[in-house]
Symmetry: C2
């Protein structure tokens, strides 16, 4: 039994053209179809940054963004959630790079390297709040295992979700930086994991709240991050000479 409207002459609505007024990208050469996979992720990220929320990422919006027809996405991703997962993987990579870069200009002092990495983390988050937000706001539930086909095969947690595996690299940088402070006698910390976790939590809170509550009277002299990192890392008041 077909829907009687399907063949009807009456045709009032009808969808708009999927890429109305957009530059239509030219099709990839044979064998280069995988490029579109990257473009879909880039398009989703561009939408997130422009609209300020990951709710803007719909299949049709992404398709419009990069100038393809919506159904073309299915050849690359099974659903929206998997696109978001690929976005998260990319943004975590960018975060790691930002931390490494901030640390690189900090010189050799382990405390300065720790602080610089932390300040780099916060700066990255404040530079693109919507981009940062997807790292931790996305509920990665309702995903079957097919996500493994679309990004690196990370570890998965006890609840079967790949949630934190993504941030592992950035977090490892933090643990390593704190460990170097401990090794060089600059930190009194006796539990690098726990203290790194406390630092991470405070860094994330800073980005999240500065973004959500810009009207709050944030402490002005911007060693705010430095101050709490030094305390949480149990850095000694004076370096031993």
């Amino acid at each position: 039994m077909r829907n009687p409207r399907a063949d009807s002459v009456i045709q009032v609505k009808g969808d708009r053209q999927p890429s109305e007024g957009r530059p239509k990208r030219q099709r990839n050469a044979r064998g280069q179809g995988a490029r579109l996979t990257e473009d879909i992720v880039s398009g989703a990220l561009a939408l997130i940054e422009r609209e300020g929320t990951d709710e803007a990422v719909t299949l049709r919006a992404v398709a419009r963004e990069i100038g393809i027809a919506a159904p073309s996405i299915y050849a690359h991703f099974p659903d929206r959630a998997t696109i978001m997962l690929a976005v998260v993987a990319r943004v975590f990579d960018e975060l790691t790079q930002a931390i490494l870069q901030a640390r690189a200009v900090a010189g050799d002092d382990p405390v300065e390297r720790l602080v610089a990495g932390c300040e780099g983390y916060v700066a990255f988050g404040l530079r693109g709040p919507a981009r940062y937000r997807v790292l931790f706001s996305e509920r990665r539930l309702g995903l079957d295992d097919s996500w493994r086909d679309y990004c690196e095969p990370f570890e998965i947690g006890p609840d079967g979700s790949p949630v934190l595996a993504f941030g592992a690299e950035s977090f490892a940088l933090l643990v390593q930086a704190l460990s170097e402070c401990i090794a060089s006698g600059r930190s009194r910390s006796t539990d690098a994991m726990a203290d790194s976790t406390a630092i991470w939590v405070a860094l994330h809170g800073t980005v999240s709240l500065k973004t959500a509550a810009p009207g709050f009277p944030w402490p002005e002299p911007d060693d705010f991050v430095r101050q709490f990192v030094l305390r949480l890392a149990r850095i000694m008041p004076e370096p031993p000479t």
Copy 2:
């Protein structure tokens, strides 16, 4: 010029009944119409908790939830954003109550009261992650001044949004608790505002990340919160006697 389909005999689609299979609430008595305002907020909150995200709050979903027709909402709220604002106001009230309650059972020691309040904050967040999330995740942009009609007249920030004014009460409790520690000589802090901010940021980060990344190896002995609060509040190792 009317739409030609409007009077057409052809009628294939047609919306479903707005409250199909739901208990229809009985109408409020004359003069008690404002009760529905409260019910709309409660319905929105119930949806958030059940679905785990504030995206579940649509006018139609709220109407279904409380057994009214969708257009009835317009007599109480002009749009979704204003409903969410009322939800946020209520949840901030609950948060303040949770902190006060946690503090009430902590006795008289100012440090214990500070820690208890902080632990109460985190416990509140973890008890209802979706409920907590609306406090800081909602973008309160695109609101005209009519929100003032739907909740208490809070202060508004420099960007014209009422963002942080909502949390002011809870934050004031924290500043007060830290100030008492300073006054009683238990804290070396010289800047109660800045140090309270650092604590708040870490508390929020803890709730946010424990929720987003349950698979992360969180420090087991659950004085995690206590430990970072003591450091950020600059509490002395031993109380002076």
